[in-house]
C-alpha cells in the first residue's frame, strides 16, 4: 500500500482522537422542507461536535433525519425546496457553512469535507471512466499536472486495495462489482485528503464479507490520515464495530449521545434501550425466543405530538411526557439525553 504522501499529514496534525478543538461544530441545525402539505421540519435543533481522528456514528431508523443532517452539512439539498432555520450553524474552520456562498462551498466540498453515498451503483457517472471521475476532483482542488494526477489517482485506487488499479483506471463503473464501486467512491472521497469524511450508509447495499472489507478499510484510513469520520447507519452492529461516539436520532431529534461503550452498556434513553434489545444477538443462544419490540410506528413529521416524540411508543411515559417535550440535557461526561425520566446509569459508573 503506497501512502508516503498521506502519512505526512497525519504527522503534521498529530493529535490523539477526540482531543483538542473539534474540526466541525454543528449547532442548532434545523432543516425544513417545503412540501405540498406545508413546511415540515426534517431535523430539529441538531447539535454535535466532531473531532479529528474519531468516528462518530449517527443511528436511527428511516425518516429519523440522519441523511438530512449530512446533506445539510454538505449543502446538497435543493435551495428551492428546503431551508435552514434562523440560528442554524455548521462551523468549519471558523466559517458558518449554512450561510457560506456557493463558491466557498465548492472549495469545501470534496476537498475538505467529502462524502460517500449509500448507493455505489448510482453515485458514479456511468458514461465516464473511473479514472476520469477521480481526476475531476484532483483537477479542481489541486495544482498537480496531468501525469501527477493520474499517478495520484492510481495511488488512491491502490490505497483502497483495488485489484489491478492501473487497469481499473480506464474502466467504466458497470465493469466493477458493488464492493469495488464503493472503493472507488472512497478513493474519490479521500483523494484530496479531506479533514472530514461523511459516510452515509456506506455498506448497506453490500454483502457482509464486502462490508467487512470496507469497514476495515475506513478504519485503516482513519488512523493513517487522522480523518474525522461521520458514519451514518441503521446497523448497530456496524456502530459497535467502528464508532467511538454515537448520536441516536428519532423523528428529527437527537435523543441521546454517548461514547460507544456507555451507550451499549447503559443506554439512558428508552428508545436507545429498546432499539438495542430488538436486534437478534449472534451466538447468544436466544433461539426461538420472542424479540423485545417497539410497538407502533415513528410519528409522521407532519403531525408531531406536542410532548416527547417517542412518548406514544415508550414504556415509561406519563402525562408529563405527552404534554412537554424534554430538552437535551447533560447526563454525565460527554453524554446527553433527551428524556424526562432517563434510565438509571449502573452504580459502577
Amino acid at each position: 500500500m503506497n501512502s508516503s504522501h498521506l502519512t505526512t499529514r497525519a504527522a503534521r496534525e498529530g493529535s490523539a482522537p477526540g482531543s483538542g478543538k473539534p474540526v466541525l461544530e454543528v449547532e442548532h441545525l434545523s432543516t425544513c422542507f417545503k412540501t405540498d402539505q406545508g413546511v415540515v421540519t426534517a431535523i430539529d435543533d441538531v447539535s454535535f461536535e466532531l473531532y479529528a481522528g474519531e468516528t462518530l456514528g449517527i443511528v436511527g431508523e428511516s425518516g429519523s433525519g440522519k441523511t438530512v443532517t449530512s446533506k445539510s452539512i454538505m449543502r446538497l439539498l435543493s435551495e428551492h425546496l428546503s431551508f435552514q432555520k434562523e440560528g442554524s450553524v455548521v462551523r468549519f474552520e471558523g466559517k458558518n457553512l449554512v450561510t457560506a456562498t456557493e463558491d466557498e462551498m465548492r472549495n469545501v466540498r470534496g476537498a475538505r469535507i467529502a462524502m460517500i453515498f449509500q448507493e455505489p451503483m448510482t453515485s458514479l457517472n456511468p458514461v465516464f471512466t473511473i479514472g476520469w471521475q477521480l481526476d475531476e476532483a484532483l483537477k479542481y482542488h489541486t495544482k498537480l499536472n496531468r501525469a501527477e494526477r493520474k499517478q495520484r489517482a492510481i495511488e488512491m485506487l491502490e490505497l483502497v486495495e483495488m485489484p489491478n488499479a492501473k487497469r481499473r483506471f480506464d474502466e467504466y463503473p458497470h465493469q466493477l462489482s458493488g464492493g469495488m464501486r464503493q472503493r472507488v467512491m472512497i478513493a474519490m472521497a479521500l483523494c484530496c485528503e479531506p479533514d472530514i469524511l461523511i459516510a452515509d450508509e456506506p455498506t448497506t447495499a453490500l454483502d457482509v464479507t464486502i462490508q467487512a472489507q470496507i469497514l476495515r478499510l475506513m478504519d485503516e484510513l482513519k488512523s493513517k490520515l487522522n480523518t474525522a469520520i461521520m458514519l451514518i447507519t441503521h446497523d448497530l452492529g456496524v456502530v459497535a464495530q467502528t464508532c467511538d461516539r454515537v448520536l441516536v436520532m428519532y423523528a428529527g431529534r437527537v435523543v441521546e449521545s454517548a461514547p460507544i461503550a456507555q451507550l451499549f452498556d447503559a443506554p439512558r434513553h428508552p428508545y436507545t434501550k429498546a432499539l438495542l434489545s430488538s436486534i437478534p444477538k449472534s451466538g447468544r443462544r436466544e433461539h426461538g425466543k420472542r424479540l423485545p419490540t417497539i410497538e407502533g410506528l415513528v410519528p409522521s413529521l407532519f403531525h408531531l405530538p406536542p410532548g416527547c416524540r417517542f412518548a406514544a411508543r415508550c414504556a415509561y411515559r406519563d402525562a408529563h411526557c405527552d404534554a412537554v417535550e424534554p430538552e437535551l440535557t447533560d447526563a454525565g461526561p460527554r453524554r446527553e439525553v433527551r428524556c424526562h425520566y432517563p434510565l438509571e446509569a449502573p452504580e459502577a459508573n
Binding site: Q213, A240, S278, R290, T293
Partner: protein, 328 residues
C-alpha cells in the same frame, strides 16, 4: 419423515446473445442442491447476493421450473408438474416475498387481494372437530387481518396507505389465506427497519406455532437466521457448502466460508470488538463456474486439489454436513 425432499436441484438460466440470439452460455444459479425439511421445523438459507438462495425459493414454489434434479413434497414429485397438478401444491406451499412494495397489487384493496386467494383455493371454511363448515370469505379475511396484527378497518385500504412493516404483514396474511402448511419466506424482514423487523419476526414465530407451519427462511443476515431457525443451509454460488443446526453454528461450523461469514458479521457489543474476518476478492461470476470448489478463489486455506475437483457435501455428525476437503 421429511416433508420436503430436494434432490440435486438445478436451475440454469440460458443467456442469449449474438446476432441470432442463440444461447451462448448459462447462469448456474442453483447447481445441484440437496436437502430435506422435516415437518414443523424452520430451515434457514443464508448466503450473499447472487448465491442462488432466492432462485432456490422460487423453484420450490415453482415460479421457475427447475432445469434439473427433483423435489418431492409429502411424497409427491412436483419439479416438473403441470399447471393443474400444481393447484393443490400451491395451496399447501406459499411464499412471502422480500419487497413489500412491489409484491402487492396497488389496484386491489386488501379485501380484494385476500378474497382472490380465498375463493381461488376455496379456503373459506373453518374446521371444527374434523368437519369443514363453510364461512363467508369476509369473515375469514377479517380473521386473517387480525391474526397478522392489523386493525379491521385496514381491509378496505389500498397498499399505498400502509408502511413497509404493515405491507409485509399483508403479504403474510395473503400467504396464509389459502391455509398452507409450508411457507417459504424470502428475506421477509430485510427491507424493514430494525424495530419493525423484530415485530415481523415475532409475528412469524407466533403464526408458526399457531398453525403448525413448516418454514424455509431465506436471509442474508446470519443473526436473524440464528435467532429464528433450527437448521441453516449456507449457500455459495449455487451450492450448499454447509448444513448445520443453528445451535452448533458458532462452536462447530467447519467450512471456511461459514467461518468467514461468522467472522464478518458485525458484533453485538463494542466490548467484543475484534478484527473482522476479511475475505479477499468478490464472488466469482456464475457464468463460468470454476471446475473445483466454487469458494477456492477466496479461501484462506485452499490447496491445489480444491481447484481440481469439487468437494462433496459430506456428513460430519448428526444433522451437520460440509463440503470441504480440508476440514473435519
Amino acid at each position: 419423515m421429511s416433508l420436503l425432499q430436494v434432490d440435486g436441484l438445478e436451475m440454469h438460466f440460458p443467456v442469449r446473445g449474438g446476432v441470432l440470439n442463440r444461447v451462448v452460455s448459462h447462469v448456474h444459479a442453483v447447481n445441484g442442491v440437496s436437502f430435506e425439511v422435516r415437518r414443523g421445523e424452520t430451515l434457514g438459507v443464508v448466503g450473499e447476493s447472487g448465491c442462488g438462495k432466492s432462485t432456490l425459493g422460487k423453484c420450490l414454489v415453482r415460479l421457475h421450473e427447475p432445469t434439473g434434479g427433483s423435489f418431492r413434497y409429502d411424497g409427491v414429485e412436483y419439479a416438473h408438474s403441470n399447471h393443474g397438478e400444481l393447484m393443490d401444491y400451491r395451496s399447501r406451499v406459499q411464499m412471502i416475498f422480500q419487497d413489500p412494495y412491489s409484491s402487492l397489487n396497488p389496484r386491489l384493496t386488501i379485501r380484494d387481494c385476500l378474497r382472490e386467494v380465498i375463493l381461488f383455493h376455496g379456503t373459506n371454511y373453518v374446521e371444527r372437530k374434523g368437519v369443514r363448515e363453510p364461512i363467508g370469505a369476509d369473515e375469514l379475511i377479517l380473521e386473517l387481518v387480525e391474526k397478522v396484527g392489523l386493525r379491521a378497518d385496514a381491509v378496505d385500504k389500498y397498499p399505498h396507505e400502509f408502511s413497509g412493516g404493515q405491507r409485509q404483514r399483508i403479504g403474510i396474511a395473503r400467504a396464509l389465506a389459502c391455509k398452507p402448511e409450508f411457507l417459504i419466506a424470502d428475506e421477509p424482514v430485510s427491507a424493514l427497519d430494525v424495530s419493525i423487523q423484530a415485530q415481523v419476526l415475532n409475528l412469524l414465530m407466533d403464526l408458526k406455532d399457531e398453525f403448525g407451519l413448516t418454514l424455509i427462511f431465506i436471509s442474508h443476515d446470519l443473526k436473524v437466521i440464528e435467532h429464528f431457525c433450527d437448521r441453516v443451509l449456507v449457500m455459495y454460488l449455487g451450492n450448499v457448502v454447509e448444513e448445520i443446526p443453528c445451535e452448533e453454528l458458532h462452536a462447530s461450523a467447519q467450512h471456511p466460508y461459514t467461518r468467514a461469514l461468522l467472522g464478518a458479521n458485525p458484533i453485538n457489543h463494542p466490548s467484543e470488538k475484534r478484527e473482522l474476518t476479511v475475505l479477499e476478492g468478490d464472488v466469482p461470476s456464475p457464468f463460468d463456474l470454476p471446475k473445483g470448489c466454487a469458494f477456492a478463489g477466496r479461501c484462506p486455506i485452499a490447496e491445489p486439489r480444491c481447484r481440481e475437483s469439487r468437494p462433496p457435501l459430506e456428513r460430519k455428525s448428526s444433522g451437520h454436513r460440509a463440503a470441504c476437503f480440508l476440514v473435519g
